[in-house]
């Protein structure tokens, strides 16, 4: 089975700073292997080991996704090899554009049976890239995936739904987005990091990929800081719990909150 893990090299917004006009400064936020992607890598490795398959890490983004550190961090996650599309024109690319490039790379890799992704990216987090990627490939996507077993063309996938879980049988190629707690990912050790440096990496030229044109233009015409409600910030002395509770209840009643 040929399994692609589509991962993201991204920064956590918690570490970014936001200017008065809402411009986001990422310079102090160190990028990394996106928060939930280790779960996807782990599911892929286990499935490949069980079926004698291959795991290919795939990412697209600016030049920084192809830096040595980024390559090693990804390949230490249990991939057999990596395919990377790094082009600075992808700075700020939206879900549809990223998915179109990922789809072109999946077609370039060829004969892919399954793409696994994390639940959501640490920076954008809209959970849309896996679904648009599937759409670009003409495949279905399934999210909230808890476990994957079976063979190519006969996958058995368990996924969470609001009422519990469902077991699905899937006969064709598919994009699966792992639930955040589908597996506990191994933490790469020194051996994995050293081995990562020797694994093959294929860099694809964005211009050489067959990517459909966007239907229109998307332009950011303004930014702002979120309009936060003003909070009272009233401290209540909690050294005596009963007195603190009484004071809080009185304050809440007085403010009409209870």
């Amino acid at each position: 089975m040929k399994i692609v893990v589509a991962y993201k090299w991204a920064s956590n917004p918690q570490d970014a700073t936001v200017g008065a006009q809402g411009t986001v400064d990422w310079s102090r936020a160190k990028p990394g292997f996106s928060e939930y992607d280790p779960v996807a890598a782990e599911l892929a490795r286990r499935l490949a080991d069980a079926t004698g398959g291959e795991v290919i890490g795939l990412t697209v983004g600016t030049k920084r996704v192809d830096a040595t550190l980024a390559r090693k961090a990804a390949l230490s996650r249990g991939f057999d090899r990596a395919v990377i599309v790094a082009d600075d024109s992808l700075e700020g690319a939206g879900s549809t554009q990223l998915a179109a490039v990922l789809a072109a790379a999946v077609r370039h890799i060829g004969d892919v049976d399954l793409v696994i992704t994390g639940d959501s990216s640490v920076d954008v987090g809209s959970k849309m890239v896996p679904t648009v990627l599937a759409g670009q490939l003409g495949w279905p996507a399934v999210a909230e995936v808890i476990s994957i077993t079976g063979q190519a063309g006969a996958l058995r996938v368990e996924r969470a739904v609001p009422t519990g879980t469902q077991v699905l049988e899937i006969t064709g190629p598919v994009v699966l987005a792992a639930s955040t707690d589908a597996a506990v990912a191994r933490v790469p050790g020194m051996k994995d990091i050293l081995a990562a440096g020797k694994k093959p990496v294929e860099s694809l030229d964005l211009a050489a990929l067959d990517i459909p044109a966007a239907a229109g233009t998307t332009t950011v015409t303004g930014t702002s800081r979120p309009d936060l409600l003003t909070r009272k910030g009233q401290m209540i002395d909690a050294s005596d719990p009963a007195a603190a509770a009484a004071e809080l209840v009185a304050a809440l009643r007085g403010a009409g909150a209870l």
Partner: protein, 302 residues
């Protein structure tokens, strides 16, 4: 400029907010419904202009209809495509966006149309900033679904024959957790890693009973610890709620959590750490041990 909108439904007719948004743009409002006929009938009575339905799904999940929905909606050349922010709905929206090569925007607070195209305001990067985005050409939006719309005039349901992709549901297992609609709760008690054991949830449940509140949590409590159902998790990729009153108990108040409760009218924070970021976004701040304060608060509310 009026915009013709398609709404995509993957089995859940709770799309009141989507219909309102589509109506505000002045064009026609059509809905593509995957799921049982009853869902299509509910949508057909919700004050929309057109409903297409792809037949009884039986054991076929909504995701298997991704390509037929994308084909049907793209053939109508919509200006805007909407779906509710739910897992299966996102899959059908993504497939349609791919077919249209249309951008997808999420966490959208408003959408208008002017001569230049569609203008959307959205919260970005987990809520740290907001962007105004102008899009020419078709646009796909993820929105909060809102309530099941009330019945008004009814339009006929047009059935389109469909060959779904190869996915079948072979087994269904019910959740061990009771389902909850946090969005509808006027008061919510949120618990975080400050709670030491699952048994201690009894303290929190007692407070919630006394305060007539629902219990919610930060991400690790529902994902990883599995103490509560995932539908009780508040945060950037979980529930976004706007209750009248929110108790943040043993929650440090990282951005990823707070973005889900910023709309609460009043926030009470209880935490042992006086420097916890939650205190910067709270109306009433109690620095102390939740194991002492929660029982006292429960007693004071009775």
């Amino acid at each position: 400029m009026s915009v013709n909108t398609w709404i995509i439904v993957a089995g859940d007719p709770a799309i009141g907010n989507l219909i309102d948004t589509a109506r505000s743009l002045g064009g026609s409002v059509s809905v593509a419904v995957v799921g049982p006929r009853a869902v299509a009938d509910t949508v057909a009575a919700a004050g929309v202009d057109k409903v297409v339905w792809f037949g009884e799904p039986g054991a076929v999940p909504a995701e298997a209809y991704a390509t037929v929905v994308a084909d049907a909606v793209a053939a109508a050349t919509p200006g805007l495509v909407l779906a509710a922010n739910r897992a299966s709905d996102r899959v059908l929206l993504g497939a349609t966006a791919a077919r249209l090569q249309a951008p997808v925007l999420a966490a959208v607070s408003s959408i208008t149309a002017d001569g230049a195209g569609l203008v959307a305001n959205c919260s970005v990067f987990g809520g740290i900033a907001e962007e105004t985005v102008t899009v020419t050409g078709p646009l796909a939006l993820l929105l909060e679904g809102g309530p099941v719309p009330a019945a008004s005039t009814t339009v006929p349901v047009e059935e389109l024959p469909a060959t779904p992709l190869g996915i079948t549901v072979v087994e269904t297992k019910p959740s061990s957790f009771e389902q909850v609609d946090l969005g509808a709760a006027p008061r919510v008690v949120g618990i975080g890693r400050g709670l030491k054991t699952q048994e201690d949830l009894a303290l929190i449940n007692a407070l919630a009973d006394a305060a007539k509140a629902e219990v919610a949590c930060s991400r690790p409590v529902a994902e990883g610890l599995d103490w509560l159902g995932k539908d009780r998790y508040i945060g950037v990729s979980g529930a976004h709620i706007t209750p009248d009153l929110y108790f943040a108990i043993g929650i440090s108040g990282q951005l990823q959590h707070m973005v889900g409760v910023r709309g609460a009218k009043t926030i009470v924070a209880i935490n042992t750490d006086p420097n916890a970021p939650v205190f910067k976004e709270a109306d009433y701040c109690l620095v102390g041990d939740l194991y002492a304060l929660v029982p006292a608060l429960t007693a004071a509310l009775k």
